[in-house]
């Protein structure tokens, strides 16, 4: 099977600080790949490189064998990679409906936007999507007036209606209640039927419940890959995590 995404030896250098020092990663269709690792391991930076927000100093990123290393963000999105950020990013002064209208899969060049009219088919798709995230009745409200949870769902709806082939999620369950976490986890497997997902997560319970493949990163490198059980047996991983714990004990012992 051909991978959706291939990172080859990706290096990122922030004015002398090497945030990524040669990362290799392959993600296959319908896969939900978890990225874990201690703070500063370079997980978010890797997402940034994939979606074009940060430029790789060296190495290549391939999306279905297209080189996207030097493409601008909007082209990468148009090719089918969607990114969800940590804080909800919706447009507060547009209605829920209008938010969805902008997110919808469409020709996003100025020429066609100037002439764009919503077709009946598009409206059906938007309504169906809103129904699924439970916001159909709120569609005429300004998105800024929604509750925090509703905003999260609106954003997820906006990612889905783009119909991406690869979805990048950065700590999606931070600040969620137990019930919402469960819903998000189920939703993750639902969405994997249509696209591949890379997800950065710190919550190990969540990772254990919903992961198949886990990639552990440490100091800008991939430490190891495998199922969560395999990873937890890995010597290096134990060193990294236990080493940290030892330090922590030492620090608290002071």
């Amino acid at each position: 099977m051909k991978p959706v995404l291939m990172c080859r030896d990706v290096v990122v250098d922030f004015d002398g600080f090497r945030a990524l020092q040669g990362v290799d990663l392959a993600v296959y269709p319908h896969e939900v790949r978890f990225l874990i690792g201690p703070n500063g391991a370079g997980k978010t930076t890797l997402l940034d490189v994939i979606c074009g927000r940060t430029r790789a100093t060296d190495g290549r990123v391939l999306f279905f064998s297209h080189d996207i290393t030097k493409r601008p963000e909007y082209e990468i999105v148009q090719m089918g990679i969607a990114r969800k950020f940590q804080s909800p990013s919706i447009f507060p002064f547009l209605t829920v409906w209008e938010n969805m209208e902008l997110a919808m899969r469409q020709d996003r060049r100025l020429r066609s936007v100037l002439r764009a009219k919503r077709t009946g088919e598009e409206e059906e798709i938007m309504a169906a999507q809103l129904e699924r995230i439970g916001l159909l009745d709120e569609r005429h409200r300004l998105a800024g007036t929604l509750s925090h949870g509703q905003k999260q769902w609106l954003e997820i709806g906006m990612q889905l209606i783009q119909r991406p082939q690869l979805l990048l999620l950065d700590e999606p369950i931070a600040g969620m209640s137990a019930a919402e976490r469960e819903r998000t986890g189920e939703w993750l497997h639902e969405i994997a039927k249509h696209c591949a997902v890379i997800i950065v997560e710190h919550d190990m319970d969540f990772v254990r419940r919903y992961s198949k493949q886990v990639t552990v990163m440490h100091e800008g490198k991939v430490l190891c890959e495998g199922s969560i059980d395999e990873v937890q047996q890995n010597e290096q991983v134990i060193d990294v995590y236990l080493g940290r714990r030892k330090n922590a004990c030492y620090a608290s012992g002071m």
């Binding site: 922030f14 004015d15 950020f85 804080s87 990013s89």
Partner: protein, 297 residues
């Protein structure tokens, strides 16, 4: 000829730097566009004028000394006004940079008109102290003492400001607030107080700049608008948040514009320098020296 132009360029650069250094604090560090900065300069200039008037009428024998008193007093006058502005207006606009630009523009109009009502529309002349007459001869070119004085003054200000920001508690607080406002607040720094006195310092420096400008020619209500756009260009070119960038930007623009002016004309020089700035920003959009951040928006 080359030496002449070099002196000229350094002199223009030092004046730009003198004006831009206050902006580097209010705009560069605090992120507030103060369009009334030029008028704070004007306040400094008129303060100097008033002090000279007082000296000539009350102490005619030591009238030349007025300048020694004028520098700190123009700092104080402008700083007080700036402090009041921050407390009453700018404080409400920290999160709305475009609006603060417009509001302070309004303030600048009010200050200009007030000056016109008090001192009249025509320019007034401040007679420079006699001990700054003449100049120094170097490599066959004359460098007037007045301009040399401004150059030294601005270098001294940069030095003290740098020491203040790096070495004193108050200065480090300013830096802390600049880098991470909410974190600084968590650490127990009274950010509102810091804002107010940073703004006062920036405004005070504008006052000193105004005081120094009286050495170069007559002053009027619109003296501020003449320099302010160039000074903003200096800060943009230098990169926001870095004093060293402002220094480089000021002397860069000063030297380039005098040399271009010499080989073309003042009009064309203005155009060429602007085109060069835009061209430079193509290469380094965030200025000469800048800080990278990771936040979205």
């Amino acid at each position: 000829m080359f030496i002449d132009q070099l002196f000229n360029g350094l002199s223009v650069g030092s004046i730009l730097l003198l004006i831009a250094i206050g902006l580097a604090i209010t705009f560069g560090l605090m992120g507030v566009i103060n369009m009334a900065h030029g008028e704070l300069m004007m306040v400094g200039a008129y303060t100097t004028y008033v002090i000279q008037q007082w000296f000539t009428s009350h102490m005619p024998h030591s009238a030349g000394l007025y300048f020694v008193a004028a520098i700190p007093l123009s700092f104080l006058a402008a700083a007080l006004l700036g402090w009041g502005l921050e407390k009453s207006l700018i404080r409400h606009l920290y999160r709305r940079p475009l609006d603060s630009l417009l509001a302070t523009w309004g303030i600048s109009l009010i200050l200009q008109q007030t000056a016109r009502l008090i001192f009249g529309a025509p320019n007034v002349a401040v007679v420079p102290p006699s001990w700054l007459d003449g100049g120094i001869r170097l490599f066959g070119a004359v460098f007037p003492y007045k301009r040399l004085f401004i150059l030294c003054l601005v270098l001294a200000i940069v030095f003290f400001l740098y020491m203040y920001l790096m070495k004193t508690r108050a200065g480090r607080r300013i830096q802390a607030v600049t880098m991470n406002r909410s974190m600084a607040a968590c650490l127990g720094i009274a950010t509102q107080k810091v804002d107010a006195y940073s703004f006062a310092i920036g405004s005070g420096l504008a006052g000193v700049a105004g005081c120094a400008l009286t050495l170069l020619g007559p002053i009027g209500p619109t003296i501020g608008t003449y320099y302010i756009v160039d000074a903003f260009m200096v800060v943009i070119l230098g990169g926001v948040g870095k004093l060293a960038g402002t220094l480089l930007g000021a002397f860069g623009i000063g030297l380039i514009s005098t040399f271009v002016e010499y080989s073309t004309s003042a009009t064309i020089a203005k155009v060429i320098v602007f085109v060069l700035i835009i061209a430079f920003l193509q290469w380094k959009p965030s200025g000469l020296l800048s800080v990278r951040t990771r936040s979205l928006d």
